[in-house]
Symmetry: C2
Subunit: 359 residues, 2 copies
């Protein structure tokens, strides 16, 4: 079957263009056809007990015959609890590997409960966070999982008082007490940098994301911890922050390694995915991938297949998503206990690039 066959095929199946548009049948229509009251249809559709078997049968047959689809919005509007069986998910970018893995984990937990997931990307824009949450609240989602871009979440107090369940993921909330799931950013970064120091490195560069991002600050703190533990001072020349793209990382690394021999770092700690890839590219460009050590924070696909293999501090986005859903559903089930913070450990994976010794 070629592409042009697809074209033919697409106009080949059942065509209903000539058929009149159909109005969706309501419970009234089903009731009329089954010759029962509206309330009886409601009972059958919601599988409430205590309807005689013959009426159940008649209603179900009528529903199938009319191809009836209950209107969830009408149902939740009238319902006392007002639940919509929908949650909202605010991620940095639904298209990036970390966010989309978190998304998938939450989806799996949600599906098990018949809950649908609205997902959106924030792109580090605090204003977008507020707008999207407003929109989700207008849709009356039962809960929200937020990887926040904003730095003040007090605007959510009223929403929670109105019954909205809230869980923060990847980054903590500010000026709001809410359940939170975090990676062990500081400890993980410290482990990664310590590992480089253990190889004998003294000049380890830190390549960081925007300092407005809490995880970037945490990871920098971990870098400082490791240096302090080894009684090494932080050399400002070796710290490059606010790198938010592959290109920015390539430039920073190229510049760092083009310095005077004695000033250049012998090892790099890349605090984020794209920065790690940029560092790899730069090392490759300079032909230094076997000379300069590199440890990255966060897993990168194919990291085991580059040469040398990429050593990383791996996060566990699946576990983070699972923990977030668990906390969220607990709140949605009515738990009013104290706020929980769950820290998901990272794992140092040694594959070669982090085990390069200093010259």
């Amino acid at each position: 079957m070629s592409e042009s066959d697809n074209l033919v095929r697409a106009t080949d199946g059942l065509t209903e263009q000539h058929l009149a548009p159909r109005v969706r049948p309501t419970m009234r229509d089903v009731a009329a056809l089954a010759n029962v009251s509206l309330k009886t249809v409601s009972r059958v559709v919601n599988q409430e007990p205590g309807v005689s078997p013959d009426l159940v049968l008649r209603v179900n047959q009528a529903a199938v015959q009319l191809d009836y689809r209950p209107n969830l919005a009408a149902s939740s509007l009238r319902r006392t609890d007002g639940r919509t069986a929908t949650i909202g998910l605010l991620l940095e970018d639904v298209g990036n590997p970390f966010s989309s893995t978190v998304h998938r984990a939450i989806e799996d937990a949600a599906r098990a409960r018949g809950i649908a997931v609205l997902a959106s990307s924030l792109d580090e824009d605090p204003e977008r966070e507020r707008q999207l949450i407003r929109n989700f609240v207008s849709r009356r989602v039962d809960g929200l999982v937020i990887a926040p871009a904003a730095t003040d979440h007090s605007y959510l107090v009223n929403e929670r008082r109105a019954g909205l369940a809230l869980v923060f993921i990847d980054r903590p909330p500010s000026y709001l007490d809410a359940d939170t799931v975090l990676a062990a950013n500081r400890d993980g970064a410290r482990d990664g940098v310590r590992h480089l120091l253990e190889q004998g490195h003294r000049r380890v560069a830190f390549l960081g994301d925007m300092r407005s991002i809490s995880t970037a600050r945490e990871r920098f703190a971990g870098y400082q911890d490791a240096l302090r533990d080894a009684s090494i001072g932080v050399d400002a020349q070796l710290v490059r922050q606010d790198l938010h793209s592959i290109g920015a990382a390539v430039s920073a690394v190229t510049e760092l390694l083009s310095g005077t021999a004695g000033d250049a770092p012998t090892a790099l700690f890349a605090s984020q995915n794209l920065v790690t890839i940029g560092a790899l590219r730069a090392l490759r460009g300079l032909g230094l991938q076997r000379k300069v050590a590199l440890v990255g924070f966060d897993e990168v696909m194919l990291g085991d297949l580059v040469e040398p293999g990429l050593s990383v501090v791996a996060q566990d986005p699946t576990a983070m998503g699972a923990a977030a859903s668990e906390l969220l559903f607990r709140r949605m089930d009515g738990d009013t206990g104290p706020t929980q913070v769950r820290v998901i450990p990272t794992r140092l994976i040694l594959r070669g690039s982090g085990e390069i010794a200093p010259p």
Copy 2:
């Protein structure tokens, strides 16, 4: 700030635990506070023209004071068009790179129109497709973008007659005439295989996904096209299909290359992401990554950084998502013209692995 600081901080902000739960204010409440009718509030909230400026002000002040959030479900229930400003997205797996890139492209187009996106993963399960669509229909989504798992979509005829906009992506619908966006699977695969043949290879293995998947069948057809164009017969020993995981691909490639010297392929065409990664791992394991040529279908992150670089037939998931949203919104805007099939070209990217000559 360390993890334990986060812990402290999370219980440090405003706590509203002691405050009474709040009932959400309605338009009635806003009307009462502003001392106007319900209908006037509705006009102001929906920015209908012809309300005197002082009433607009009073209503807006009351809305802010009460922290009013319009209920979109109630609004769309009463509205004549019944629109929910929501679309549903059914992907193979929201967590995989291809799906999540498509997702992001659709989200961007949707956000520009104030439309929210419900996303779900099908995992190749036709039953899940039907259940999720039923659920989305109960939520009265305005449209659906479907990367289908099922092989019969006639069940959607009634939904479309009821006004649901439908677009298929990545794979065509069956027994249904609907707008569709596809990659140039067959042509792309033919180009990739032809490229290997041009390097002088005669024994090119095909590593395929499950034959139940239309893209896998298309890509196999492209493989056959290229061989036919070069007057080379298909050797069944070199065709390994139904590979759906990295592990399955590793096994298949290992087996293929462990055969008698004359029987083994000198080049591999991997028809899908995970299969490509499996092939890479197997070649690496056998130490053959510089001996056996490899072209993969679909882009792989870091493909430029392995050695040799990975040559691929790249799809354009962003363009596919953009095309799908365009077609979908056109239908949602009332277009009843003939069905369109858009084929998004692939691009052959040469980075080394596909340019290895036969021994």
